[in-house]
């Protein structure tokens, strides 16, 4: 009885585009969906620091190194905004990290691919951040207030990420034959994984329906993917990159038709069999464990200062 009245008020707010705030009543399924999606998003930001962090000490110039460091630092910040937003749903940071280490929480599969060359820094910034931006711009309108506000902040910071990546690709494409080849190969490595970032076709995505009704999601996976494809193909062609898809073509409406994604590869990487799944979690867990003494010291320091205050 009580619940159905609450549900009515909740849905009425959603329909009227009024954001749901942490202390508002919400269906448990809405809360659980958000905890899963937002923590996965937070983990993606943080795990995503690894393939790029890999190149900070090997950047080709001081300019490139400063840019890459600022970018990777932003991603850490994005993770923190999102963890805090997730915590407003009544789950602790410790719990979220534990679920990540236990494999109960996921992160974007795209970060399970390796970054063997400098050109991968270009391809990641341009394509992976580019795809993330399309998704995140849409999520600025999500119905949960803290998530929406975190998205607005993140989107402001993202555009430099994509531009610095495209600049790296464009520079390489003006270079030697070897540099062009490096850029083309990186493009080929990241093109399909970045299209996979939008998730399965909507018909194959079990949780889509309530997510749309509750406006957690505002646009379908396939619509978002198409927006990304239509923006990115002309950018690739402009700098002379060849699309690794024999069947792509420009349609009359200005949109592009492309081949279907290799969904077996997609599900395989999600299941944990991508090239770097094990390494990514191992490195995260090691960093967390190595930081334990810092947390302990900080707690002890604070306790000591509070003692001093009391006895003063």
């Amino acid at each position: 009885m009580e619940n159905s009245k609450n549900l009515e008020v909740f849905q009425a707010k959603i329909d009227a585009e009024i954001k749901i705030e942490p202390k508002d009543w919400m269906p448990d399924e809405y809360r659980q969906h958000l905890i899963r999606q937002m923590s996965q998003h937070a983990h993606s930001e943080v795990i995503g620091m690894q393939p790029e962090g890999n190149w900070i000490t090997r950047s080709p110039s001081l300019r490139a190194r400063k840019i890459l460091m600022a970018k990777v630092q932003d991603e850490g910040g994005h993770g923190l905004y999102l963890y805090c937003a997730t915590e407003t749903l009544g789950v602790t940071r410790e719990q979220l990290i534990q679920w990540l280490h236990e494999g109960k929480a996921k992160y974007a599969s795209v970060f399970n691919y390796p970054s063997p060359t400098w050109a991968d820094m270009g391809a990641i910034g341009w394509l992976v951040d580019g795809a993330a931006i399309v998704n995140q711009v849409s999520l600025q309108r999500t119905s949960y207030g803290p998530y929406s506000r975190a998205m607005v902040r993140i989107c402001k910071e993202e555009s430099f990420h994509q531009r610095q990546g495209y600049e790296i690709m464009a520079t390489l494409m003006e270079g030697t034959a070897e540099q062009k080849k490096m850029a083309q190969e990186a493009f080929e490595r990241w093109w399909w994984p970045s299209l996979m970032m939008f998730g399965p076709h909507d018909g194959d995505s079990p949780r889509s329906s309530n997510a749309m009704k509750w406006k957690i999601k505002r646009e379908t996976n396939d619509d978002l993917r198409q927006q990304f494809i239509d923006k990115t193909i002309p950018q690739a062609e402009l700098i002379g990159l060849k699309i690794p898809d024999a069947n792509y073509k420009l349609l009359e409406n200005g949109s592009y038709e492309t081949s279907d994604i290799d969904w077996d590869e997609f599900w395989n990487v999600i299941k944990g069999n991508g090239p770097c799944n094990t390494q990514r979690i191992k490195q995260h867990a090691a960093a967390h464990d190595n930081g334990q003494w810092v947390r302990e010291a900080a707690i002890a320091y604070n306790e000591k200062k509070e003692q001093q205050l009391k006895s003063a």
């Binding site: 705030e21 202390k23 932003d74 910040g77 905004y81 805090c84 410790e94 900080a298 707690i299 320091y301």
Partner: protein
Amino acid sequence: MSTDNQGPIWEVFVQSKPGKPYKHVGSLHAYDKEMAIENARDLYTRRNEGTGIWLVKAEEIVSVKSGDEESYFEPADDKIYRHPTFYNMPEGSKHI
């Protein structure tokens, strides 16, 4: 307090320019005031977003919950005479 946690949650308010009100921007974890300020600077003002930061432990905040809205805010509804548009001004009057 367990020895492996991230410290309490602090709410962060940033003033975008001198003279502007402080606006809530998000939250963070820190073990003490000093660390809260350093973390807030690194997390919320990497691009000159502010000229001032306020921090307060989340547990110290008192607030009115959404469910209480009616009893708290409704009494203002029937006091429209608190708004300047309630009053009839004579035709042709200026600067008022």
